[in-house]
Symmetry: C2
Subunit: 553 residues, 2 copies
């Protein structure tokens, strides 16, 4: 199989800011922000491809993700966002095919995962933060371009006789749209499945009135009216917001990660890598200084307020782990510090959920934990004396595939819950991690949440909150064997097993995108009909036509 | 990749009967039937492997599926079924590894699909037919063996210090349990996900009290009590049934398919294959003679009653198509006959839903249509003059990926709905096909169901019931281009696209098994870590240890 690695860049960082953007322009006009795509062909992550026609690679999407965060945190006065393009008659041609073709399988999968998370973050902002999104399609909108539009609340397409929306992946490339397109077409926009089937096989797409009739877009307007209609609708959407009428917001400063070959250190988070064992230790530290307790003081603390700071660092390290450290199969999750300090922060958050910034912080914590759920590494939480798996940090143990808690009467070691475990940090399946854990004994959820005292190891075992509680004689061996054993298994089987066990309970559009759709996409991404020497992805843009093995599977 | 085809048999038939079983014994004792696995090592579908330790191949499962149908139709007096083994200290070792290793990818996928459908049929019988299932695990129960047990209502395991339940696929074979195991562990039995994670990595499994505590089984009993406890519980489960106290049932006779190189003909169904175009035409014929209208007459007609006869034939032909005709990518679906004759049958079925046999027939029709939904071929329904897409047969058009209806005023051509489209034939997602079709306009469902008159092509288009209605001038070209166009696409991309578009709306445990779980399994089944020269599936049973590429994806 042709899986060239030449266009897969070496090390990726996710930290950026508008003054460093290559591909997006972010403009503000009162309650409406405009996010305009203007991809620089020569500024891709690799020199091996050119980002023509507003096609994108991971670098473009990192900027988009950053812009979305900044609108949420830095611009509370923004109530609606127009996503459009600065290129004439082209909105976006989707993910760059030459980038995909030159990428390893793992890169493709991670690229799609990140872009999916970014589009879900758009929907999260719409649903939970009072920011409505309007896709203003001023030209051709293909593949990932249309999938970006699908993530918005509404889609307006210019009716110029040429501009169309399309998902040409199946007819042109022999793969699926990788960013939720098929799911959102039938599940979000509720396009009839037979029409979706037709749409998914027409490379040139659908335009004009038919695009409206098929529910693919909400409206079409002639070029002469397009800008004015978009502006008017953006103002209307902005009216629906419950965000503050004005700022100030806070500034998201750089994360200042200190990296070495085998470690990444931030202020509250660190990742230490044991390459020989293929294990990393992820440590999150509780706040050490007093934290603000009023919204005003939280705004003043800004990005240095502990939960925002710690979870921004956690988010960043998870992304780096995924992309830059594919050989690290197991992550040992630890916490260090005073449980009381974490619980005090939780109390402040819970007391101020109606403040815009607190709301943003809580949703950011939620999204970061979802990122952990979706990270295809084995997470083992180690609950030891000196740790602070309490409240929102206990979610790390709940997100882990297993947890081990040292049971040694001589060394106090407890976990604790808070209101933050009660509903503000749902998983992609719409349930809390406690609800998902206790699907078989749902009465347990309220029982454990009602417990005022911390749980020692025995109480935690009795309550079903941890997996194992070895004593001090067994601890070292049991933990070592578990971690070593994990490292010996097939990484693919572990990825599949975890993807199935982590999401018990209901499926949502979100879990469907990462479960059903992504799993099929991953399958297709390694089939010779896509990536073989004569596969469609390989043949695209060459003179050759793809040759398929027509056996149906 | 090592995908030897030597152990993939040539042509498979699905028609069998108890007197021809090699691997199962079916015994009756009043309201309790016992289905005992006793696999003949040398009676596999291929001589290339031996079915040791009650391991199974497709042939074993075809008998199981047949036995389940016969219990439903031939033995209405059966109210509970014990599934056990006649081998000493071995219940079932799961799917035969050497069979899997020697199979093509497509064979593995089809094998898993069929075995999944069979296990779901067990759950369907429990939920809808008043037959409860008790897995009596008299010994080692591994992999697919445990997955069979998971499909039962209750699981009793012998507590002999040795017998355990296990899902050793990940630790031993580098693949996933392929028959719903992971999903059922967390979603049906609601095993805590961390315990499921541990369970899924312990090759030797879990036994005794721990198996009960982890919810993996419902009870364990020492060998001395095992048989008596199983018998007692089977009697208790039988009490819960609403089936008749006694027979007679009906006899499911052989289907008598007439096959040639390019066709399969039954009494009401035919499949004609155009190998060059990779297209098959599937035709279902309406009843030609008068059909019974009372339960007594339906019992007397038995397997010759049209809906049972036609859908048994349809079920059989879909299975043969999947397994024996992998190169046929597109199926043109036609019907022939009097719509009124189909609607009259629907009326009889609807008027007698409380009769046990009518209930069985309706559920059989439902399962067959689900089989069509899950068949990875493109279905295009062609609605032409002389067709009878009415009521239950209109479900074939709704199950198709698209439908084309000739609009020619000179040739009357109509479709019609009946109460059978209203709720008795749900898809795997729990919705009817009409509800799924009209997710975006749910009010349409009742509107179209309330329409008393048949729909001509224009009315059908207006109502959203068909995809296209070309006139007589365009028909030939439009249909030909659609079918030819479909045949040119990557079969893998089509499989993935259809699997995502067909199941809009809610996900259920059933759709999860075919969506999330199966898609991941298919991915893993073609990864070198499983099937490469040094993959775990390849290495199993040899002296070699697997060697993995430890990059996580």
């Amino acid at each position: 199989m042709a899986t060239a690695t030449n266009t897969t860049p070496d090390r990726i960082t996710f930290d950026t800011s508008p003054d460093r953007y290559h591909h997006w322009k972010l403009a503000f006009d009162g309650p409406v922000a405009t996010l305009s795509m203007d991809v620089q062909e020569d500024a891709g992550l690799s020199p091996d491809y050119k980002l023509k026609l507003n096609s994108y690679d991971l670098g473009v999407d990192i900027e988009l993700a950053d812009a979305l965060q900044r609108i949420r945190f830095e611009h509370p006065e923004v109530h609606s966002v127009v996503i459009t393009s600065l290129k004439e008659r082209i909105f976006c041609a989707g993910a760059n095919i030459f980038m995909l073709r030159g990428s390893t399988h793992a890169w493709k999968v991670n690229f799609c995962k990140f872009t999916n998370e970014t589009r879900l973050a758009i929907e999260d902002a719409s649903e939970n933060s009072g920011i409505k999104f309007l896709a203003a399609l001023n030209g051709i909108c293909a593949g990932g371009g249309y999938e970006l539009a699908l993530a918005c609340d509404e889609i307006i397409l210019v009716d110029d006789g040429n501009s169309a929306v399309s998902l040409p992946e199946t007819p042109l490339l022999g793969v699926l749209p990788g960013t939720g397109g098929l799911t959102r077409v039938v599940d979000k926009r509720k396009v009839r499945r037979d029409l979706a089937d037709v749409f998914g096989t027409i490379a040139e797409g659908v335009r004009g009135r038919r695009a409206v009739e098929w529910r693919l877009v909400d409206a079409v307007y002639p070029t002469s009216q397009f800008k004015e209609r978009v502006a008017r609708r953006a103002q209307e959407l902005a009216q629906m917001s419950d965000r503050p009428a004005s700022g100030p917001g806070i500034t998201l400063g750089p994360l200042n990660a200190k990296t070495s070959d085998d470690a990444i250190h931030y202020s509250a988070v660190s990742l230490e890598i044991d390459r020989e064992r293929r294990v990393a230790t992820l440590t999150v530290r509780a706040p050490e200084a007093d934290q603000p307790t009023t919204p005003e003081a939280i705004v003043a603390a800004g990005d240095q307020y502990w939960p925002l700071r710690a979870f921004r660092e956690l988010d960043d390290v998870l992304l780096r782990l995924r992309i830059n450290e594919p050989l690290i199969g197991t992550v040992v999750v630890k916490t260090v510090g005073e449980p009381a300090a974490v619980l005090a922060v939780d109390e402040t958050l819970l007391a101020n959920t109606d403040h815009w910034l607190v709301r943003e912080i809580i949703h950011f914590v939620k999204r970061t934990l979802k990122r952990m759920d979706l990270t295809s590494r084995s997470f083992f939480a180690m609950i030891e004396p000196g740790s602070c798996f309490a409240g929102s940090l206990f979610e790390l143990a709940l997100a882990a595939d297993r947890s081990y808690m040292l049971d040694d009467p001589d060394q106090p070691n407890t976990i604790a819950l808070s209101g933050m475990n009660g509903g503000l940090l749902p998983m992609s399946n719409g349930l809390t991690r406690l609800q998902t854990r206790f699907l078989g004994t749902p009465e347990r959820v309220d029982e454990v949440l009602g417990e005022q005292e911390p749980f020692d190891a025995q109480a935690a075992m009795d309550a079903g909150l941890v997996s194992f509680a070895p004593d001090e004689l067994d601890w070292d061996d049991e933990v070592r064997l578990a971690v070593e054993g994990r490292a010996a298994f097939s990484p693919d089987a572990l990825t599949g097993m975890e993807a199935n066990l982590r999401f018990a309970g209901p499926e949502t559009m979100e879990t469907k995108i990462f479960g059903r759709l992504t799993a099929w996409q991953n399958w297709i991404f390694i089939r010779p009909n896509a990536v073989g020497e004569q596969g469609a992805l390989t043949a695209y843009g060459t003179q050759k036509r793809p040759e398929f093995d027509y056996n149906r599977t």
